[in-house]
């Protein structure tokens, strides 16, 4: 009990020392377990996000699309718990790519941030875009632009959608949304709409969740195995066959329908033709008969005319005869009358009147009768004549009528004939055409049938979350943090051990007499050592607990929040990585115990009596420098003193220099990491690659090439295909790069060595130039062999002819000839490097071609890479800040000890009349020199540490620059000095507080 009280009293009386040890262990343990738990925290947060929004485990795509009935085959696969179909399409709106997806019930929940979910047709909820801003605000309308092709537009019932909500989807956790099938290649935005707004009867994808996936953590091997097994099972499921049968049956039905239609149309056509033919024939017969009739008519008419002529002649001659008879009778009458008159005149004259009259009455009567007969004859003649004339006229008119009738009939016939002839011609043409058309249709049907027969099972693409761009990128980022986490805390621990060692050594030195007394009183060595062990262990445990508490909350949260710039994750899910925390804890305890024992060993071994006496002061010694007479003589007295003092306590000298050096190295590593990360992008896209865009082609054909040529100022075609390179047991993913025109490659890619800047020649036959990362990772140099995968398990060997500076992707450059001979196939140029003044427009124009899969703007790539690495910068800053913290603690503690050890000396020089500034300088000069030496060491060590951290932090596909900017060296040095100055500033007060009476005290 008393013992414990003693320890606590000890702690109480030396708070600064206790907290120094505690703080350094808090830093060490906190950093180790904090940084160490960052990856688990990040992964767990993503897992929790995925779980709470039912993120899919498996995504299926099929060439044929999906129908509701396909779900049965999917659900029947083992482990598939649920499957929901979805419709989606990439569309262009205002020149940016937008993915429109149908809301899925039960899978891929949407986290609504503001507004509401779509309820009516034509409404959408828009995915938030933290990088470039939301596409539209709530209440605004998104309109699919006219640039979209018709097929795409026809997938939707409406072309504009009103934004009713802003949301985030776990399907797109990253601001980088992967590739789009429209626009310039990158997907920028996404929105969810009601399924009913799609005008398609098939689904584009199916999302599935797996049994037991919820209980497994994302990114764990168990989960990945579960997902991969399910994916395999789905790939091997009868789904493809079912789809094939369905599609084939459907096609067959349609074909049958088409065939039936064809048949009916064919018979219709034939019937029509024959009808037409018959009609034509009828018309012809009619025409012929009409012609006959007309000819008959004409003949009748001629005959009529002749008859009429005859009749006229007859009637005229008859009339003439009647005229003549009449005229004869008339003249007879006249002569009769004249005779009578004469007779009468005689008689009268002779016989008188009566007699005359009487005598002449009969004659007169006769004459009168004759006259009457004559008149009647005359009248009769007139009537006859008139009638004859009338009859003639009527006959003439009839003839004229007949004549005109005939003429019109003739004309009609003629036109009829003409019509018939053109009809006939048309018929002939039509019938020919119909024949051809029918033959075509027949052939078409035949080929359709052949197509159906040739149908193959659809390609079913089964992807897991590992293939989700954002989900995967997040784990890579977490991995990168973890790589750094492996290195940094080690330095913290080393420094912590050093600090603990010096502090405990000092403590034990101070308490020499006490140890002696205790020893004299009969306490065993163990008991005495236990006191110091308890002290340091309590400090270490105390610091460790604080470190674990703070480190496991603050560090992951800070890092997580920096990553929130890039990812949309709702909440950080804190988790303590217990093994790591315990490891850190245990390591710190072991270190403490070891260091304390080491520090105590000397004192414990000494006999009590010796300990009771004051320790013989460490004697002064000549320093090496004094032997360099000319230099020593030139040094001022104070610098001589400083020099001696620094070299007097070698242990402390090394501790301080190592401590400061370590911190400075950490700082330099932090700054250097920032340089390396941010420096890589401009170098890759400025110094190495010199073009504006990369065009990805699905097929190398003339039209695709034309599309590229027409829209570029200049371009070259290259093959860039994924492969694997190895040398010995090391292997690394790589890209086989074959330029079509090697002689022109230098205009696009600069081949040079990084350090010397010396140009590297394009490789000759059988040779390859490789990216630097390949060289360093595979440990091969110029003249060595590199094995490049040709096909699975089949490697070809090339001689490395040069190593070129490169940061993004690992390229193996070779000539087309080398490729063709080694890989036994001609290169397929699947990319074009393009120079264009306006890459955006050029890209859009090129995308019109179907074989232009996507277009990547170099500037966009730069930006997106910069975004990614900017977030890493946050982490770097965290490291820099903690290095500063560590620096401060170390310097403060060491200076504190330094002053504590020299209280008597300081009091003495104060008594001697040193002004406070001189007293400060007396101590500080040493500090400054130690800082300078430590800084120099730190800058030197930092270069290596940086190199080490860089290689740990970078992912396979990327090489960070190894360069550290001069500014970073300066910054690290300056910061180290600033902290040194800061510590000196605090120490000033401590120095002022040292009482001069200390000088009068006896040596303890």
């Amino acid at each position: 009990m008393k013992y414990i009280r003693l320890i606590f009293r000890e702690i109480k009386s030396s708070k600064a020392r206790f907290f120094a040890i505690a703080a350094i262990f808090a830093l060490g343990v906190g950093f180790y377990s904090g940084l160490g738990s960052t990856m688990p925290v990040m992964k767990k947060s993503m897992d929790s996000y995925a779980d709470s929004y039912n993120l899919y485990d498996i995504k299926l795509l099929s060439e044929y699309g999906f129908e509701g009935s396909d779900l049965d085959s999917i659900l029947s696969v083992e482990n598939v718990a649920n499957a929901v179909p979805s419709k989606s399409a990439d569309v262009l709106t205002d020149g940016t790519a937008l993915r429109l997806m149908s809301l899925t019930d039960g899978i891929n929940g949407v986290r609504l941030l503001e507004g509401r979910m779509p309820q009516n047709p034509g409404e959408c909820v828009l995915g938030r875009n933290k990088m470039s801003g939301n596409l539209a605000q709530i209440g605004e309308t998104i309109t699919l632009s006219d640039e979209n092709d018709k097929d795409t537009l026809s997938m939707f019932k409406t072309r504009s959608f009103t934004v009713v909500g802003i949301a985030e989807s776990p399907v797109f956790p990253s601001v980088q949304r992967g590739a789009a099938s429209v626009g310039q290649g990158a997907l920028h935005h996404y929105a969810y709409i009601a399924e009913s707004d799609f005008d398609t009867d098939y689904y584009t994808e199916v999302y599935a969740v797996l049994d037991g996936a919820e209980n497994l953590q994302l990114y764990t091997q168990e989960y990945e195995e579960l997902a991969m097994n399910a994916a395999d099972a789905l790939e091997n499921s009868p789904l493809a066959g079912v789809q094939l049968e369905r599609v084939r049956a459907k096609a067959q039905t349609e074909l049958e329908k088409a065939r039936a239609e064809y048949e009916s149309e064919k018979s219709d056509a034939l019937k029509e033709l024959s009808d037409a033919k018959r009609e034509l024939d009828d018309a012809k017969a009619e025409l012929d008969s009409a012609n006959e009739r007309i000819s008959d008519g004409e003949r009748d008419l001629e005959r009529g005319k002749a008859e009429l002529e005859q009749a006229r002649y007859e009637s005229e001659s008859m009339l003439e005869a009647a005229q003549r008879e009449l005229e004869e009778k008339s003249s007879q009458y006249e002569s009769g009358k004249a005779e009578l008159d004469k007779t009468y005149a005689y008689l009268l004259s002779v016989y008188g009147k009566d007699a005359a009259d009487a005598q002449t009455v009969s004659a007169r009567a006769q004459l009168e009768a004759a006259k009457t007969a004559l008149d009647a004859g005359r009248a009769e003649l007139d009537v006859s004549r008139e009638r004859a004339e009338r009859e003639l006229n009527a006959a003439l008119a009839e003839i004229a009528e007949n004549e005109s009738e005939l003429a019109s009939a003739r004309a009609e016939y003629q036109s009829g004939l003409q019509k018939y002839q053109s009809g006939l011609e048309e018929y002939n043409a039509q019938s020919q055409k119909a024949e051809a058309e029918l033959a075509d249709a027949e052939a078409e049907l035949e080929s359709a049938q052949a197509d159906i027969d040739a149908l193959e099972p659809p390609e079913i693409y089964v992807t897991t979350l590992k293939d989700n761009y954002g989900v995967n990128a997040f784990s890579q980022d977490a991995q990168r943090i973890d790589n750094i986490a492996r290195v940094f805390p080690i330095i913290f621990f080393v420094v912590a051990a050093l600090v603990c060692l010096t502090t405990m050594t000092r403590m034990i030195d101070e308490q020499r007499t006490k140890i002696g007394t205790l020893s004299a009183l009969g306490y065993g060595r163990g008991a005495i050592a236990a006191q110091y062990l308890s002290y340091s262990c309590i400090a270490a445990v105390f610091g460790g607990i604080i470190g674990i508490l703070l480190g496991n909350t603050a560090i992951p949260v800070v890092i997580f929040n920096t990553y929130k710039i890039l990812y949309s994750l709702p909440n950080v899910v804190l988790t303590v990585d217990f093994p790591k925390a315990l490891l850190a804890f245990g390591a710190s305890l072991v270190l403490t115990v070891a260091v304390t024992l080491w520090a105590a060993l000397d004192s414990l071994r000494a006999p009590a009596a010796q300990l009771m006496r004051p320790a013989a002061p460490k004697s002064g010694k000549k320093v090496i420098l004094e032997r360099v007479g000319f230099l020593w003589r030139r040094m001022s007295f104070t610098s001589k003193v400083t020099c001696r003092n620094i070299l007097r306590y070698k242990k402390r000298f090394f501790m301080t220099v190592l401590g400061i050096g370590g911190c400075c190295a950490l700082l330099l590593t932090g700054f250097g990491l920032k340089d390396s990360i941010s420096g890589m992008i401009p170098r890759q896209y400025g110094k190495i690659q010199n073009f504006d865009m990369t065009v990805y082609l699905s097929d190398d054909n003339d039209e695709a090439r034309a599309a590229v040529y027409d829209n570029s100022d200049d371009c070259i075609f290259v093959q860039s295909t994924s492969s694997d390179a190895k040398s010995g047991s090391e292997n690394l993913e790589c890209y086989i790069f074959v330029p079509e025109k090697p002689e022109r490659l230098s205009e696009y890619i600069s081949f040079h060595e990084r350090k010397s800047g010396k140009a590297v020649e394009f490789p000759g036959y059988g040779q390859a130039v490789i990216a630097e990362k390949l060289s360093s990772r595979l440990n091969i140099g110029v003249g060595d062999k590199i094995s490049v995968k040709r096909t699975e398990g089949d490697y070809v060997e090339l001689t490395v002819s040069g190593i070129t500076e490169n940061y993004i992707y690992n390229y193996v450059y070779m000539s087309p000839k080398t490729y063709e001979d080694m890989f036994e196939k001609p290169p397929e140029y699947n990319q074009a490097y393009v120079k264009a003044a306006d890459p955006k427009t050029a890209g859009e124009n090129m995308s019109v071609n179907d074989d232009v899969v996507s277009v990547m703007n170099s500037q966009d790539m730069m930006d997106s890479f910069s975004d990614v690495f900017d977030s890493l910068n946050g982490v770097v800053w965290l490291l820099i800040v903690s290095a500063c913290l560590l620096n401060f603690v170390v310097l403060y503690n060491l200076t504190n000890i330094n002053i504590g050890e020299r209280v008597r000396e300081i009091a003495t020089i104060k008594v001697l009349g040193f002004y406070p500034r001189e007293t400060d300088a007396y101590i500080y000069r040493e500090n400054i020199v130690l800082t300078a030496v430590g800084t120099a060491l730190g800058l030197w060590l930092g270069v290596f540490l940086h190199r080490f951290v860089i290689s740990a932090a970078e992912i396979d596909m990327i090489m960070f620059t190894r360069n550290i900017n001069v500014l970073s060296f300066i910054m690290s040095a300056v910061l180290t000095f600033v902290f040194s100055a800061l510590v000196n500033f605090f120490m000033h007060f401590k120095l002022t507080r040292i009482s001069m009476t200390e000088s009068l005290k006896s040596i303890e």
Binding site: G620, T638, L912, F914, T997, S999, S1002
Partner: protein, 233 residues
């Protein structure tokens, strides 16, 4: 006016609630060039007097005058300057900087004052010719104390304050050091104050001040001091 004048000097140390009167109305005077021994038992207040006289501590009440200047009214900076230029200290445990040679220890003091003596010369004066390059650990206690005296003398102080200068030395060496102090006083004309608990030293002084319980019990002058060699204890 005397070279040193203490009049009614009181020093009260406060530690929490308790008050400790380390000096309680101390008055005495010392003339220039005298060798003065302040004698008293442990805790009598002699070190307090030394601290106030040496400008290492302030007074609570009363005045301390040295060479016509009122030291008790000096501020911190003036006190430092006073220590620097006017006072030389000799400590019981020599307080040499272990890491500096004998000569350098002397230089440590001489480099900061106005008209210092030559370090090597001063060492010769205290009888350490040839030991200039030795480190304290290579020197005996007496030699170390000589170095301390040399360090004090190198500043050409007006006043030499010695706190138990023989406390850590054997009898013979102690005597030799006292001889050196006496000679210094007489040859250099420096006022020397020796603080000791050893009353046997009284006869060697020009002036003896006896301190008891923070007060001056007596002050006597020796017109004819006994040479040090003749004193036995």
């Amino acid at each position: 006016m005397s070279f040193i004048e203490f009049s009614g000097v009181t020093k009260i140390y406060k530690t929490g609630q308790t008050e400790c009167r380390a000096a309680d109305g101390v008055s005495f005077r010392v003339e220039k060039g005298e060798l003065c021994v302040v004698v008293g038992s442990s805790g009598a207040g002699k070190t307090t007097i030394l601290n106030m006289l040496g400008g290492m501590d302030s007074v609570t009440d009363g005045t301390v005058t040295v060479d016509g200047r009122e030291v008790s009214r000096f501020d911190r900076r003036q006190l430092t300057a006073y220590r620097r230029h006017d006072v030389g200290f000799v400590f019981q445990f020599y307080n040499l900087v272990q890491n500096l040679t004998a000569c350098e220890n002397v230089e440590l003091a001489s480099q900061i004052c106005k008209n210092p003596k030559d370090a090597a010369q001063t060492l010769k004066l205290v009888g350490l010719a040839g030991k200039e390059g030795s480190f304290p650990s290579q020197l005996s206690g007496g030699e170390q104390q000589r170095v301390a005296i040399a360090r004090a003398l190198a500043k050409s102080p007006k006043l030499l304050l010695c706190d138990e200068p023989t406390g850590a030395l054997d009898y013979k060496t102690g005597k030799a050091i006292l001889r050196l102090l006496y000679d210094t006083c007489k040859n250099e004309g420096v006022t020397v104050i020796i603080i000791t608990h050893n009353s046997a030293l009284k006869p060697m002084a020009d002036r003896v001040i006896t301190v008891k319980s923070g007060r001056v019990e007596s002050m006597t002058t020796n017109p004819h001091p006994t040479p040090i060699e003749e004193i036995e204890w």
